[in-house]
């Protein structure tokens, strides 16, 4: 199973590092990262494997949200099922 983490906000040093840090702490294995910076707006989509997550999904989501709040960013943490069900038959 995978989680999709999308981060949006003002570009600053260490966003990717902090988000990856939370994933590592929770034992979520990052598979793919796509990011771009337009002007000073940072947008990143990260896909991580959560089969061996050491905490609950809710806990991972809470930790990422706390990190985003601290850095003044917005984050969405979504299970892959919503994308698979919406875009696959």
């Amino acid at each position: 199973m995978k989680v999709i983490i999308s981060v949006l906000g003002k570009d600053t040093v260490g966003i990717l590092a902090k988000a990856s840090g939370v994933c590592a702490d929770c034992n979520a294995n990052i598979l793919e990262v796509a990011q771009n910076v337009l002007g000073d707006v940072f947008a990143m989509t990260m896909i991580a494997d959560i089969d061996k997550l050491s905490v609950s999904f809710d806990e991972l989501s809470d930790r990422l949200n706390a990190m985003a709040e601290e850095m003044g960013l917005s984050v969405r943490v979504m299970h892959e099922d919503i994308f698979n069900s919406m875009h696959r038959i």
């Binding site: 796509a34 896909i47 999904f57 989501s61 943490v77 299970h79 099922d81 919503i82 994308f83 919406m86």
Partner: protein, 452 residues
Amino acid sequence: MLNIGDIQETITMIQDEHLDIRTVTMGISLLDCIDDDINKACDKVYEKIARYAERLVPECESIEKRYGIPIINKRIAVTPIAMLASACPTSNPVHFAHALERASRTVGVNFIGGYSALVNKGFSAGDYALIESIPQALAETEHLCSSVNIGSTKSGINLDAVAKMGGVIRKAAELTADRNCIGAAKLVVFCNAPEDNPFMAGAFHGTGEPDCVINVGVSGPGVVAAALKKAGDCNITEVADTIKRTAFKITRMGQLVAQEASRRLCVPFGIVDLSLAPTPAVGDSVAHILETMGLEHCGAAGTTACLALLNDAVKKGGVMASSHVGGLSGAFIPVSEDAGMIDAARNGHLCIEKLEAMTAVCSVGLDMIVIPGDTSAEIISAIIADEAAIGMINSKTTAVRLIPAIGKSVGDELEFGGLLGSGPVMPVNTASPARFIHRGGQIPAPIQSLKN
């Protein structure tokens, strides 16, 4: 493989286009709570709801978190209370209303529906007592919703019930005049009421349903409007195809949430309701979809045709996306709950007669319409009769949720707040239908009912 474009599309739908799950509604049968002692029956009702729905709200919140999709309302629908009231005919059914309200507060749901009676062919003692008590029940509770089914294609229209409901609606508004007549906004009169509807105020748990069930209603007018804007100046067939594709995606999400809620709560999955339910928020309006199709204002000539296409395309797109479809399933046109409808009504482009025509091709009926406070009970009853006739003849659900704005007249507005929105007082035809309404009796079932 997950595609970044698909991921972005879903996130945009949720973030910018108001895509959400409007409601996860747990249907609970109360048939095993029937008792000839009303106090005992109320205790059983409270205990069963509190036990069955204990985990409803926390599990829905956890699902919201897992999929990143808001679930706006968590609701409960119960067996029509008139059936329980029939066992204790000498007691005031309003005790049940208080028990339901207490249960709804204990489990933390937004609404509880089922203070209802099905009288399409006549009244039992319990039905009559319950209908009499509706205004008081709605005035003394906050989360309770009530509905009465007064007709069906199979049985015709109970004109005695129609006559009664005009007065009940007026009284519900009068008793809550200090709270913007909110009582009448929580009361709906149906013809051909569905037994698995997750939407309020008309949700109740039909007798053919299992002991407990999860039904889900999706939203998404903003997503459809955005897709049509993107499609630009295409022909009307392409408009229909765009709506179908979008409805499919919206409904898949509803199906996913319904299955997950059913699994977590260990309750069977009932249906996904395909309705496009608007909210008063800008960008979440069914009227704006019709305007995007090419009407200057909702209510203009052409509105009924556009709505018919929308309603049909939503069903065609949605039906393949879910294993079980039911409830109302179609586009809603509640005036006070839709920013585009409110504007059109304010500007005089949308009148009750046009809305009545629209109800012949969409999912429900004259919904959340504010009418002058001095409208007589007979006129309200006659509007119900007209709407029920459309439902009866066309074998579809129709409903009436009118709010007489006590002390107000055309030009004034009522403000309910939240999902119920606000609405201008709309003029009604004041010619008297009193003699027709007071004839009483039953409008016979139409020839369409003889299908066997």
